[in-house]
Symmetry: C2
Subunit: 174 residues, 2 copies
């Protein structure tokens, strides 16, 4: 299935698809999964159903997916609520070289090859490349220092309607 080609490209085959109420016309796109209450499902390909056995032992899953609706690839971007451009690898913007997204969602239930999840920030039809269990002991890193992004996230917690609308515009335009 996945492979490297002679020119060094990596070819991946989606293992599933996201069914989500969100699309490009949505007025309420969560800017990250951790602020999302959006429910939906992840439908895995039939051939991968066996790979889900035991997954309901985890409350949260990290989904690795392809941002198929975003065809912009920038090296610099103005992040959400910021004024200055930054290098793309220091942002979570979807307009990145290789459009890979990583989101952690809550697993509500599993029915065969269908996972019911909460906390989606992906558009309907998003191709899923991998699912890993979310494990705080592995995924939480201590002693983290970020200069600007944490302050911005705090701002988002306490913003007004006009600011929220500007975020939606930013997310749609990006």
């Amino acid at each position: 299935m996945d492979r490297m080609t002679e020119d060094g490209s990596v070819v991946l085959v989606p293992v599933g698809v996201v069914h989500s109420p969100l699309d490009e016309k949505s007025n309420n796109i969560p800017f990250q999964s951790f602020v999302s209450d959006v429910e939906g499902t992840i439908e895995m390909g039939e051939e991968y159903e066996e790979g889900l056995d035991g997954i309901d032992g985890f409350s949260h899953l990290t989904i690795i997916y392809y941002l198929h609706k975003n065809r912009k690839s920038k090296l610099r971007t103005v992040p959400l609520l910021e004024k200055e451009e930054r290098g793309i690898f220091g942002t979570r913007s979807p307009s990145r070289p290789n459009h890979i997204g990583v989101s952690t969602v809550k697993l509500l239930s599993r029915d065969g090859r269908i996972l019911k999840v909460k906390g989606l920030d992906m558009f309907d039809g998003t191709p899923v490349l991998d699912i890993k269990p979310y494990v705080p002991k592995v995924d939480l890193v201590k002693g983290v220092d970020n200069k600007w992004l944490v302050n911005k996230l705090d701002e988002i917690d306490s913003m007004d309607e006009a600011q929220r609308e500007s975020i939606q515009k930013h997310l749609r335009d990006e």
Copy 2:
């Protein structure tokens, strides 16, 4: 650069490469980046250097990469220190459909397109697909419940030499 083909495959172009002292013959492969003190560098392609501007404002980076040395793709596997097989998507085994790895490393310094990092668990030559800033507010999820994996990780903290050797064998064989 990246694109979806008509058959639905996703083609990605590596943006950088990991230079690491680890290879398949290493006797001390960290089983996850959070237990690793291994230092090395990530060398980004010249055309992506601009995308790193401002990245030194982050203490930790999440690296998304291609497990190029692992050519096994299983749907079930026996996880580290376990006896029973589980579905691959409920494990962190590298032998997964689409060999995507996600590790968080500490950023020590940046020199142009070279990032000096600590906490590597990747082999030398690993192709890097994306780098995102690690932000606890985004990446730390509350209310997580895992039935078995956390206990296993605690076991690893307190194991003896023979058990450590058996882990190395597991990692080499997997």
